[in-house]
C-alpha cells in the first residue's frame, strides 16, 4: 500500500506544483518564481547534454580534401572543359557584336527624365531648349555654342572629369580621369551628348595602374561600366572591364 501511495503522490506533485505557482501572489511568489526559473534552466541544460550524447556530430578535426600548393591557393581554377567552351562562346559573341559587361540590363531612361524643358522667349512660350538633368562628361577644350543657338544645355555643376574605378580582381579602387563616353545604353543621343547614367560604358585613363601589353607597350585607356546613379550620389563609381 505504501508503495502505491508513494507512487501516486509523486505523480500528483507536478500538478500541485503548478497549482501553487499559479495561485501564489506577492513577495512570496516573486521569490518562488525566481527559484523555479533557475531550476528550469538547469533542467534544460541537462536535457540538451543528453541529447548531444545521442546524436553524432561532424568531425571538425578532419582536414579538408583538395590540397593545393601555396601558389594555387587564392586562385579558383577553371575546369579544363570550361576553358575550351568559353573560348568558343567568346568568339561567337565577338561575331555578334555583344559584349560581356557586369550590368547587362539597365533601366532605360526616357527623355522626360533626362532632359528638362527650358522655356524661352518674351512670353516664355518657346520650348525648344533642353537642359540635361543627369551627370555628363564634356571633353577638354569644350566651348559652348552661342547661347542663342544651343539646344542642349549641360550645366557646369553636373560635369565630371574623374571616376572611381574598381578593379574586379584586385578589389582596389582608383580615381581615374575619364577619356570619353563610349556608349549610353538608353539612347545614342545621350552618347553623343556625353550623358553618364547607370550602365554607361566609359573610357578611363589607366596609365596609373601600370598595365603592359605582351609587346611591352603601356596600356593607357580601358573601358569601365558605371555602377551607381551619379546624379544622386555626386560621384561616378565604375567597374573596370578586364
Amino acid at each position: 500500500d505504501h508503495h502505491e501511495r508513494k507512487r501516486k503522490k509523486e505523480s500528483r506533485e507536478a500538478h500541485e506544483r503548478s497549482h501553487k505557482a499559479r495561485k501564489m501572489i506577492g513577495l512570496k511568489a516573486k521569490l518562488y518564481h525566481k527559484q523555479r526559473h533557475a531550476e528550469k534552466i538547469q533542467m534544460k541544460k541537462t536535457i540538451k547534454m543528453h541529447e548531444q550524447r545521442k546524436t553524432k556530430q561532424k568531425d571538425d578535426d578532419k582536414t579538408p580534401e583538395g590540397a593545393v600548393p601555396a601558389y594555387l591557393l587564392d586562385r579558383e581554377g577553371q575546369s579544363r572543359a570550361k576553358v575550351l567552351s568559353n573560348m568558343i562562346k567568346q568568339k561567337r559573341k565577338e561575331k555578334a557584336g555583344k559584349w560581356e559587361v557586369p550590368l547587362p540590363k539597365v533601366r532605360a531612361q526616357g527623355e522626360t527624365e533626362v532632359l528638362k524643358v527650358i522655356r524661352t522667349g518674351k512670353r516664355q512660350k518657346k520650348a525648344w531648349k533642353r537642359m540635361v538633368t543627369k551627370v555628363c562628361f564634356v571633353g577638354e577644350g569644350f566651348t559652348r555654342k552661342p547661347p542663342k543657338y544651343e539646344r542642349f544645355i549641360r550645366p557646369m555643376g553636373l560635369r565630371f572629369k574623374k571616376a572611381h574605378v574598381t578593379h574586379p580582381e584586385l578589389k582596389a579602387t582608383f580615381c581615374l580621369p575619364i577619356l570619353g563616353v563610349k556608349k549610353n545604353p538608353s539612347s545614342p543621343l545621350y552618347t553623343t551628348l556625353g550623358v553618364i547614367t547607370k550602365g554607361t560604358v566609359i573610357e578611363v585613363n589607366v596609365s596609373e595602374l601600370g598595365l603592359v601589353t605582351q609587346g611591352g607597350k603601356v596600356i593607357w585607356g580601358k573601358y569601365a561600366q558605371v555602377t551607381n546613379n551619379p546624379e544622386n550620389d555626386g560621384c561616378i563609381n565604375a567597374v573596370l572591364l578586364v
Binding site: 590540397a67 593545393v68 601558389y71 587564392d74
Partner: protein, 478 residues
C-alpha cells in the same frame, strides 16, 4: 680556301665584368670555339683547362666558327673585336631519363618537395598534414613526421642540412630532424593565416642556422629564433598576402606581396629600406641571383660523390667555405632580384641600389608562376600558365628563347647544378628536361597520373624528385 686567303681578325678577350685579358690577338676567321678555348686557357694560366663559352661583343655565341658568327652579326672587321669568355661549370650533369621509383605513402596530394643542400636527404610535404623523409640510396620511406594539423604548404632545409622547417595552412611552423624524423623544439605559432613561404638565414652570415623568416597570407613576415622557439621580429607593411620571402646574402630581406609591391627590409633591426613598385597585379614569386649558392651553403656541387655525404668541419670552416662560394658567384656586382607577377610581366631589380627596375620583361600571355636564376646567375627561367617557359639573360633581362612543349600550365622549374639543363613540371602531368644550349627538349618524362605540383633537382645532379596530385613522389635518374 688556302690558309693565306683566309681573312684575319683582331680580337680582344674580355671577361664578363669587362676586364681585358692579355693583348689583342690576330686570329683567322675560321677559328673554332675549341681553339679559342685553348688560347684563352693558356692566357688564364690555370692548372686545369676550364671549359669556356665565347660571345662576340657579349651578344652572339660562337658556335661553329668565328666567321659564321660575325657574318650573322654584320660586324665590321677593321676594329678590334671584343670577345667575352664565360667559364662554364667544370662538371657536367647528365640528363635524367627514367623514373627509378614511385614512392607511395602520402595519402593526399604532394604539395612540396626539397632535397637537402648536400643532396643526402629528400623531404616532401603533403595535403595529408605529414612531412615524409625518404631514404635515397634504397628509395624507400625513411620517416614520417606528424605534427601539423593542416596541409603542409612549404618546406625549407637549413643551409647546413641539419634541420627542416615546414609551414602549414593552419599558420604553424615545425622543425624536424632528418636523421630521426622527430620534431626539434616546439611548434612556432604566431601567424594568423597560412604560411606561404619559408626561408633560412644564409650560412655565411650565421653558420649555426638559427634564424628563419616566414611569410604569410596575413600580410606579415616573422623572423623566428629556432633555438628559443619564438619570433624575433615581425615585419609588417604589406597590406595583402605576402607571397614570397627571400633572405639575401648581403644582409637584406626581400618580400613580394599581392599588394603589387616588393619590399626590401633589414632583418637586423626590422627596418623597411625600400619599396619597389611597378607591377600592375599580384607579385607571385621572387628570385635572387645568388639563390642557388645560398641554398647549397658550403657544399660545392663539383665535389659531389655517388653517395652524398653530410657537411663536415667546424662551424668556422663551414662559414669560410660558404662565404668563399658566395663571393665567387656574386662577383663584384650586387645581387639582382627578379619578380614575376600576375600581370604577365617580370621586373629585374637592383634592390640594394635603387627603386627603379633594371628591365621589364614582357612576352608571357598568362600569369608567371615561378622565376629561377640559373646556378651560375647568367640565365633566368620563367614558368608561366601560358604553357611556355621563357629564358632571359640574367644580367640585362634580354629575352633569349622560349621553351614550348607543355600542353598545360607550367607550375615549377628546377635548374641542374651546372646550369645546362632545366626540368619543368606542369599541370599536364609530365616533366620535361630542356637543354639550354640548343633550346630544345632533351627528355620528356611522363608517368605521373595527375598534375605535377613540385619539382626539385638534387644539388649533386644525380636525381630529380617530383610530386603531384596523384599522391606519389617520383624519383628520376639517368
Amino acid at each position: 680556301m688556302t690558309s693565306e686567303n683566309v681573312e684575319r681578325l683582331l680580337i680582344q678577350f674580355q671577361d664578363e665584368n669587362g676586364e681585358v685579358l692579355g693583348s689583342p690577338f690576330d686570329v683567322p676567321l675560321d677559328i673554332t670555339p675549341d681553339k679559342l678555348q685553348l688560347v684563352c686557357n693558356a692566357l688564364l694560366q690555370k692548372e686545369e683547362p676550364v671549359p669556356l663559352a665565347f660571345f662576340v661583343r657579349g651578344e652572339a655565341e660562337v658556335v661553329s666558327s668565328l666567321g659564321s658568327c660575325i657574318q650573322t652579326l654584320g660586324v665590321e672587321t677593321e676594329q678590334v673585336l671584343p670577345v667575352v669568355y664565360q667559364p662554364q661549370a667544370v662538371f657536367r650533369v647528365r640528363a635524367v631519363t627514367r623514373c627509378t621509383s614511385t614512392l607511395q605513402g602520402h595519402t593526399e596530394a604532394v604539395i612540396s618537395t626539397a632535397f637537402s643542400p648536400t643532396g643526402k636527404y629528400l623531404a616532401s610535404g603533403s595535403g595529408d598534414t605529414t612531412v615524409r623523409f625518404w631514404d635515397l640510396t634504397t628509395e624507400t620511406p625513411h620517416h614520417t613526421a606528424r605534427g601539423h594539423a593542416h596541409w603542409v604548404l612549404s618546406i625549407a632545409w637549413s643551409p647546413d642540412g641539419k634541420k627542416l622547417a615546414s609551414g602549414c595552412k593552419n599558420s604553424q611552423i615545425c622543425l624536424w630532424d632528418p636523421v630521426t624524423g622527430t620534431q626539434i623544439g616546439k611548434t612556432l605559432t604566431g601567424h594568423t593565416k597560412w604560411i606561404t613561404w619559408l626561408c633560412w638565414e644564409p650560412l655565411h652570415l650565421n653558420p649555426e642556422c638559427r634564424y628563419l623568416a616566414s611569410s604569410s597570407k596575413d600580410g606579415s613576415v616573422r623572423i623566428w629564433d629556432t633555438v628559443l622557439g619564438r619570433y624575433e621580429k615581425i615585419l609588417t607593411g604589406h597590406t595583402q598576402s605576402v607571397t614570397c620571402v627571400k633572405w639575401g646574402g648581403d644582409g637584406l630581406l626581400y618580400t613580394s606581396s599581392q599588394d603589387r609591391t616588393v619590399k626590401v627590409w633589414r632583418p637586423k633591426d626590422g627596418v623597411l629600406c625600400r619599396t619597389l613598385q611597378g607591377h600592375a597585379h599580384w607579385v607571385n614569386t621572387l628570385a635572387l641571383s645568388t639563390d642557388y649558392v645560398l641554398r647549397t651553403g658550403a657544399f660545392e656541387p663539383a665535389t659531389a660523390t655517388i653517395n652524398p655525404q653530410d657537411l663536415t668541419g667546424s662551424l668556422e670552416e663551414i662559414k669560410e667555405a660558404a662565404l668563399q662560394r658566395y663571393n665567387k658567384v656574386r662577383g663584384s656586382a650586387p645581387e639582382r632580384l627578379v619578380s614575376g607577377s600576375d600581370d604577365f610581366t617580370l621586373f629585374l631589380w637592383n634592390p640594394a641600389e635603387g627603386k627603379k627596375p633594371l628591365a621589364r620583361m614582357t612576352g608571357h600571355s598568362a600569369l608567371v608562376n615561378e622565376v629561377l636564376f640559373s646556378p651560375d646567375t647568367r640565365l633566368l627561367a620563367s614558368a608561366s600558365f601560358d604553357k611556355s617557359i621563357k629564358i632571359w639573360d640574367g644580367r640585362t633581362g634580354k629575352y633569349l628563347m622560349s621553351l614550348r612543349g607543355h600542353v598545360g600550365s607550367v607550375y615549377q622549374v628546377a635548374w641542374s647544378a651546372d646550369s645546362r639543363l632545366l626540368v619543368s613540371g606542369s599541370s599536364d602531368s609530365t616533366l620535361k628536361v630542356w637543354d639550354i644550349k640548343t633550346g630544345k627538349l632533351n627528355m620528356d618524362l611522363p608517368g605521373h597520373a595527375d598534375e605535377v605540383y613540385a619539382v626539385d633537382w638534387s644539388p649533386d645532379g644525380q636525381r630529380v624528385a617530383s610530386g603531384g596530385k596523384d599522391k606519389c613522389l617520383r624519383i628520376w635518374r639517368r
